[in-house]
C-alpha cells in the first residue's frame, strides 16, 4: 500500500496478473482496429479484459495534431478485470502528438514503443514539443523501444507493389506483431482474420501479413526480449460456452431486440444521431433482425413522439439519445407518462452541461432522469453496470415497461457505449419471456381502469373492434379516461401515477452484495463505475478492511431494501461521476449519514483515486 496516496503519479499495481496496453496515433492510423485485435487475442485465451477507446474530439483533424489523436486501451489478465486500468503498462505511440497526449497515462517505468520515423521536425513542432522528446531526456525512467517503424514497414511490404502511402498504412500491423510477440502470442489468428477480411490473394492481405510478421520478428531479434514486461499470460478459467467481446452499445441493441422478441412485439428504435448514442441505432440498422427496425427522425422530439406512436399502435417504441437530445425529449416523455404507454428511453450520458464534452462519460443526468419534467411525472430509471450488463438491463426494461405500462429510462454513458468485455453469448430461448397482452374485447371498457396489483391500465391496439377510445395529455378521469378538471380526481391520479412507479421497487429488491452483508464500509455505486469500485473493494478487502459493495441497477424507484442493507454497515460511501446526485437522493431518507466521492472530469474513475479518497474518509473517522 502506498503511504502517500496524494502523489499524482503513484501507481498502485492492482494485481500481478494484468497488463494494460494503450495504442495511440492519428485517427487514420488504425489504433482502434489494432486494439481490437489484441483484445480478441486476449479474449480467446479466456482472460478477463476491459477496454477503453478514447476519441478526443468529434472531428477528424489534420494528421499529426494533438487534437487528432485517437487511442485505445485494453487491460487483460487473470483475476478481477473490471476496469480498463488506471495507467498503461505499455504505450504504443505512432507519432509525437500521440506521445504527448498519452505519456501521462503510462506508469513510471512503463514501456513506450515509438515510431521514430515520425519524429521529424515538422511532426515534433505540430505536437507542440520544442525538442525531440526521444532525445531530450524527457522519457527517462521509462523503457523505450524506438524504431523507425515507418521505414521498417515500408521495407517489409515493398514487394507487394503498394505505394509509399498505402505501404505505411501497415504500420499498425507491424506494431501488433511486436506486441503479440511480447505476450508470447503467435500471429496465426490475425493472419487468418486478414485473409478473411481482404481475401487470400489481395495484396493488402499479403502486405499486412508481411508487416505483422516483420514486427514480430523485430521483437524477437532485438534485446527487448528479456524485458520484465514479457509475461507469460496464464490461462484463466471462465464459464464454458461460446464467447465474444461486446460493447455496451451492442449489448443494448441485443438486449432491446431480445426483450422485444420475448414480449412478442415489433420494435422500432426512433432516434436522431448524436454522440455517443448513435452506435445503438447503427448496430440495430445493420443487424436486420426480424421485426426490429429503426427510424431516423428529423429531431429528438419527433423521435420520442414517433416512439410513443409505435407503442400506441401496439409495437415497442424505443428512443435513444444523449445530453442535449434527452433534454429535448422532456415534454414528450411527460405525455407518455400521462397516457401510460410503455416506452424505452436510452440515455447514453455524456459529460457537461449543454454541448459539453460529447465523447466523454459522466453520470450527471440522474436527477434529470428522475425529476426533469414539469408536473409530478414519475418514471422508472435503470442503469447497467458494465457493457455486458447492458444486455440484461435493456431486456428487463422492456419487461417493466409493458408490465406496468410506463416509460423506463436507461442511463448508459459514453464509457459503457464504447468499452467492451467478454460475454458468454446467452441462449435467449432460456431467458424469461413476457409476451405482451393486449386487451381484446371488454364489455364497457374503461381506458384507465387498472390492474389492482400492478396499477397498470390495459394496452389496447387500435384496430381492435369495440374498444375504440380516446387518450391524451390533459388530466383524465381515473376510470373512464375522459378529460376531467375535478380537483379530487387530479389528486387521485397524481397519487396513482406515483404509486404505480413506487411499486416497481419490488422488481429490484434483489440487490447483490459484493462482499459480506455487514461490515465497516459499504460502497454504493451505480452504472458504469462498477469496474473501478469492484476493484478498489477487492484491494481494500485484501488489506483487511471490512468492505462491501453494491452497484444499483434501479435508481428510481429506490428499493425499500436499501435502508436495511445500509444499516448493517458503519459507514456508507456513495461513489459517482457527478456532483453527488445519488448521494443527495439517498440522504433524504435512506442514508442520511452517507459520504460522497465524486469526480466530474469526463474520465472513468481510477482505482488509485478511489482508494485514496476512501482511505481519507476512513481517516477522518467513519
Amino acid at each position: 500500500m502506498d503511504g502517500n496516496p496524494s502523489t499524482k503519479n503513484s501507481q498502485i499495481k492492482m494485481d500481478k496478473w494484468s497488463t494494460t496496453v494503450r495504442f495511440a496515433g492519428d485517427s487514420g492510423d488504425g489504433m482502434q482496429l489494432t486494439g481490437g485485435r489484441l483484445t480478441f487475442e486476449a479474449a480467446i485465451s479466456g482472460m478477463g479484459l476491459a477496454t477503453f477507446p478514447d476519441y478526443p474530439a468529434e472531428i477528424r483533424a489534420p494528421a499529426g495534431t494533438t487534437f487528432g489523436v485517437s487511442s485505445f486501451q485494453v487491460r487483460f489478465g487473470e483475476g478481477l478485470i473490471a476496469s480498463s486500468g488506471d495507467h498503461a503498462d505499455i504505450l504504443v505511440a505512432m507519432n509525437p502528438a500521440a506521445l504527448k497526449m498519452n505519456i501521462k497515462e503510462v506508469i513510471p517505468g512503463g514501456l513506450i514503443i515509438i515510431d521514430n520515423g515520425s519524429f521529424n521536425d515538422r511532426g515534433i513542432r505540430k505536437a507542440g514539443y520544442s525538442n525531440n522528446p526521444i532525445e531530450d531526456n524527457s522519457l527517462s525512467g521509462m523503457q523505450l523501444i524506438s524504431a523507425d517503424i515507418s521505414n521498417l514497414t515500408i521495407e517489409a511490404v515493398k514487394d507487394f507493389g503498394l505505394g509509399q502511402k498505402d505501404g505505411i498504412r501497415c504500420r499498425n500491423m507491424w506494431t501488433l506483431g511486436l506486441i503479440l510477440w511480447l505476450f508470447s502470442k503467435n500471429t496465426k489468428q490475425t493472419e487468418d482474420w486478414l485473409i478473411k477480411k481482404f481475401g487470400k490473394d489481395n495484396i493488402l492481405t499479403k502486405a499486412n501479413i508481411a508487416a505483422l510478421k516483420a514486427g514480430s520478428a523485430y521483437a524477437e531479434n532485438t534485446e527487448i526480449s528479456n524485458d520484465i514486461l514479457r509475461k507469460e499470460v496464464p490461462q484463466a478459467k471462465p464459464l464454458p460456452g461460446k464467447w465474444r467481446a461486446i460493447t455496451g452499445a451492442e449489448a443494448i441493441a441485443f438486449g432491446l431486440a431480445t426483450g422485444a422478441n420475448h414480449a412478442n412485439l415489433k420494435m422500432t428504435l426512433c432516434s436522431y444521431p448524436i454522440t455517443p448514442a448513435s452506435p445503438i441505432m447503427h448496430y440495430l440498422a445493420n443487424y436486420e433482425i426480424e421485426n426490429i427496425g429503426i427510424y431516423q427522425a428529423e429531431d429528438e422530439i419527433a423521435a420520442c413522439c414517433a416512439a410513443i406512436g409505435v407503442s400506441y399502435a401496439g409495437g415497442l417504441g424505443v428512443t435513444s439519445s444523449s445530453g442535449p437530445g434527452i433534454s429535448l425529449k422532456t415534454e414528450a416523455i411527460g405525455l407518455a407518462i400521462s397516457v401510460e404507454l410503455p416506452l424505452i428511453i436510452v440515455n447514453s450520458q455524456r459529460a457537461g452541461p449543454s454541448t459539453g464534452l460529447p465523447t466523454r462519460a459522466e453520470q450527471s443526468d440522474l436527477m434529470q432522469a428522475i425529476y426533469g419534467r414539469h408536473g409530478e411525472a414519475p418514471l422508472v430509471v435503470l442503469a447497467p453496470k458494465s457493457p455486458a450488463d447492458c444486455f440484461n438491463i435493456s431486456h428487463k426494461a422492456i419487461k417493466i415497461a409493458i408490465k406496468y405500462m410506463t416509460p423506463v429510462m436507461i442511463l448508459s454513458d459514453a464509457y459503457l457505449t464504447n468499452a467492451s468485455e467478454p460475454w458468454l453469448i446467452p441462449d435467449i430461448e432460456k431467458i424469461e419471456k413476457f409476451p405482451a397482452k393486449f386487451a381484446n374485447f371488454i364489455e364497457n371498457y374503461q381506458p384507465f381502469e387498472r390492474d389492482p396489483k400492478t396499477l397498470a391500465r390495459k394496452w389496447v391496439k387500435p384496430g381492435t373492434k369495440g374498444m375504440e377510445h380516446r387518450i391524451g395529455g390533459l388530466e383524465k378521469d381515473s376510470i373512464s379516461g375522459n378529460i376531467s378538471y375535478d380537483p379530487d380526481n387530479h389528486a387521485k391520479m397524481t397519487n396513482l401515477r406515483n404509486q404505480k412507479i413506487q411499486n416497481i421497487e419490488k422488481e429490484f429488491s434483489d440487490i447483490p452484495i459484493n462482499g459480506l452483508d455487514n461490515g465497516d464500509i459499504l460502497l454504493i455505486g451505480w452504472g458504469s463505475t462498477n469496474g473501478p469500485i469492484s476493484e478498489v473493494k477487492e484491494l481494500l478487502k485484501n488489506e483487511n478492511i471490512k468492505i462491501s459493495h453494491i452497484q444499483l441497477n434501479c435508481l428510481w424507484p429506490l428499493s425499500s431494501k436499501l435502508k436495511e442493507i445500509i444499516t448493517k454497515f458503519k459507514s456508507t460511501i456513495v461513489i459517482e461521476m457527478n456532483d453527488g446526485q445519488l448521494y443527495n437522493l439517498l440522504r433524504t431518507e435512506i442514508a442520511p449519514k452517507a459520504n460522497s466521492i465524486t469526480q466530474v472530469s469526463g474520465k472513468p474513475f481510477r482505482v488509485s483515486y478511489l482508494k485514496e479518497k476512501i482511505l481519507n474518509i476512513l481517516k477522518d473517522g467513519i
Binding site: K266, I289, G293, V339, I428, G463, G473
Partner: protein, 335 residues
C-alpha cells in the same frame, strides 16, 4: 375499407363519441366535424381501424368527438406520432388534425417532414389564422396587420401559406376547402382519404371569437361565386357567374391572371386546363393574391410517390435475421 364492408350502414352520427362537443357556439369546427363524419360514413369506414391524431388547439380537440380511436398528443407533434403509428400498423387509417398554430408555428418542422416522407395519412389543417385555444394571438398564418393580444398595433410578419410550404416539402396531395361549404368539403376529404401518401387539406375555418369573418371576402354567400374557383382535374379553370371567368398564366410566367370571357372571349384558349400533376401551376394557385384573385379550392395538386409506411414495412419484411445468429456473428471463441 371499401364501401359496404359492413352489413349495417353507419350514419355520420355513428362516428360521434359520447363526449359533449365543447367548441364555442358558431365555431367553424362544428361544420368540419360534420364533414369528417359524413366522409367516414360515405366510405363506411371501419371505426376500429380509424385513428384521429391531433396536437393541441381548439381544432385538436376533434378526436374526443369521434367514436374511433383517438390520440390528443402535444402541441405541434401530431405528425411524429402519426408516423410511429403508421410504421407499426400501416393498415390503420390515420387522420392528423391540426391548427395553423399547431402545424405552421411550433410544428412546422414535423409538418414539412411529413410531406417529405409521404406518410400515408390525411392531415386536416384547420386554418383560422389565429391561435384559438390560447385566446387569440396572431399565428404564422395571420395576415400582416392582425390585431391580437400579442400584436396590439397589428402584426408585422408575413403569413406562411400552408399549401405552398407543403408543395415545397414534397407533398403529393394538396387541397383546400371551406368549413361551411360541406358540399365541396366532403368530396375533397374523400379524395384525401383515397390518396396514397400524405394528403393535406387546408380548411378555412371561422373562429367567431378571435378572428371572426376573416375569410368573408370569399366565403360570404354574395362573394363566393366571384371569389372562389373550384378546381376539377382536366377541366378548364373557370369561375364566376355562369363560369365566365378563367385563369391564365401571365406573359412573364410569374403569376396567374383572370380572363373575363364576357369582355375577352377571344382569349378563351389561354385559359388553363387544371392538371393536378403540375406542381408549378399548383404553386401559382396556392399563391394567388387574395385581394385581386379568387381563392383556389378543391385539389390543387396530386401525384403518386411511394409512401413511408409502405417502404418502411417492406424493409422490415426483408429483415430475416435471428437474434442469436447476429449475436454469434463475428469473432467468437468457445470455452
Amino acid at each position: 375499407m371499401g364501401i359496404n364492408e359492413k352489413p349495417a350502414q353507419l350514419k355520420p352520427n355513428d362516428y360521434a363519441s359520447d363526449q359533449e362537443v365543447r367548441w364555442c357556439p358558431g365555431c367553424g369546427d362544428y361544420a368540419i366535424l360534420n364533414a369528417v363524419k359524413r366522409t367516414l360514413a360515405d366510405h363506411q369506414a371501419d371505426k376500429a381501424n380509424t385513428v384521429f391524431v391531433s396536437g393541441i388547439g381548439c381544432s385538436s380537440r376533434l378526436p374526443y368527438y369521434m367514436s374511433t380511436y383517438g390520440f390528443h398528443t402535444i402541441h405541434g407533434r401530431a405528425p411524429a406520432f402519426a408516423t410511429g403509428i403508421k410504421i407499426t400498423n400501416p393498415e390503420l387509417d390515420v387522420w392528423v388534425i391540426t391548427g395553423d398554430g399547431d402545424s405552421l408555428s411550433i410544428g412546422g418542422n414535423h409538418f414539412i417532414h411529413l410531406f417529405r416522407r409521404n406518410l400515408n395519412c390525411q392531415i386536416l389543417l384547420f386554418n383560422n389564422e389565429i391561435y384559438g385555444l390560447t385566446k387569440g394571438q396572431a399565428s404564422p398564418a395571420s395576415r400582416t396587420g392582425t390585431i391580437s393580444p400579442s400584436t396590439p398595433k397589428g402584426s408585422l410578419e408575413s403569413p406562411l401559406s400552408a399549401c405552398e410550404l407543403a408543395l415545397s416539402s414534397g407533398a403529393t396531395f394538396v387541397a383546400r376547402g371551406v368549413d361551411t361549404a360541406i358540399k365541396q368539403l366532403v368530396p375533397t376529404l374523400s379524395k384525401a382519404k383515397e390518396h396514397s401518401g400524405t394528403a393535406l387539406v387546408e380548411i378555412f375555418q371561422n373562429c367567431i371569437v378571435y378572428n371572426d369573418n376573416v375569410f368573408n371576402s370569399f366565403t360570404e354567400k354574395s362573394a363566393a361565386i366571384e371569389r372562389q374557383i373550384h378546381l376539377e382535374n382536366g377541366k378548364p379553370m373557370l369561375f364566376g357567374e355562369d363560369n365566365t371567368k378563367g385563369l391564365s398564366l401571365s406573359a412573364d410566367h410569374s403569376k396567374l391572371e383572370v380572363i373575363d370571357l364576357k369582355i375577352n372571349k377571344k382569349e378563351e384558349s389561354k385559359i388553363l386546363i387544371h392538371d393536378e400533376s403540375n406542381k408549378i401551376i399548383a404553386y401559382l394557385l396556392s399563391q394567388m393574391n387574395q385581394s385581386t384573385m379568387p381563392i383556389a379550392l378543391g385539389v390543387l395538386y396530386s401525384t403518386e410517390k411511394p409512401t413511408l409506411d409502405s417502404y418502411y414495412t417492406h424493409r422490415i419484411e426483408e429483415h430475416k435475421n435471428k437474434i442469436s445468429n447476429i449475436m454469434e456473428k463475428g469473432q467468437t471463441w468457445t470455452i
